[in-house]
Symmetry: C2
């Protein structure tokens, strides 16, 4: 079935132990590489202000899903949309991606802000953000997403 | 060992059959969902101008790697950096992520530009881009990355 096996390269430590949808703005997270990686796997990362973190939605365990369209956050005021038109956790392959701010690197750890995963989350990859990989033209998005995101980074 | 199993949700069709580092600017790609997904898994995606595509670097097969720092593209003019300070294909977990432009959606397919994966590449996820998930402050990056990227999107 073309399955691909991946494994954590690091884990998150932060103060957020409960799953919550919103209010990630003040969370500071530490990401520590597993023993498989030497600290130098992070060498040079200090030169970037932003990183992309790939992580495993390890608490999303409902896997008996039919991928029909649905109202995001079960809010009937939002239109029904497909799983690939939203960023919800409970999705095929359970991988989240977030662009974070790098505060500092310390040996085999990085300290970051603007990250939205709870304590203990397995990290799948860390990539540097370069301007050339960001949109070069205006991004537009439907109104329901602006409403859904209003308290996310507060 | 905390392994996680994932599998393709779609595949890429485009004219790029050979692995090349640069010149992705004119490649138009079609991404077709596997039979596991109804077309409505893409419903509402037309409302977004940009998407993030997660994909498997399925041709990167050298897996006997010690993750020491190295010169990107083996170019001695670039500093030695760790694997997590660069975006090279041959990396832990072999997952690539790229922000692309959505040209159109047709049933269970999307047509995109600004994508840098070859024909036949397995797709792991599709996520909509929202302004709230892009950097809100200036991004800075080391000079070597600007040089490395100079022909990437040409």
């Amino acid at each position: 079935m073309n399955e691909i096996t991946i494994k954590p390269i690091a884990y998150v430590t932060n103060e957020r132990v409960e799953l919550k949808d919103d209010f990630w703005g003040n969370v500071i997270s530490e990401i520590t590489l597993t023993e498989e990686f030497p600290a130098e796997a992070l060498d040079g990362i200090e030169e970037f202000t932003h990183l992309e973190i790939l992580f495993h939605f390890h608490k999303a365990t409902d896997r008996n899903i039919v991928w029909n369209s649905e109202h995001p956050r079960e809010n009937p005021n939002y239109p029904k949309v497909g799983i690939f038109a939203q960023r919800k956790k409970n999705r095929p392959n359970l991988i989240g991606t977030t662009i974070v701010k790098l505060i500092k690197r310390e040996g085999n750890k990085i300290i970051i802000s603007n990250f939205d995963a709870i304590n203990g989350t397995p990290i799948i990859d860390i990539k540097p953000i370069m301007q050339e990989f960001l949109p070069s033209e205006k991004v537009s998005q439907p109104q329901w997403t602006t409403d859904l995101m209003k308290d996310y980074w507060k």
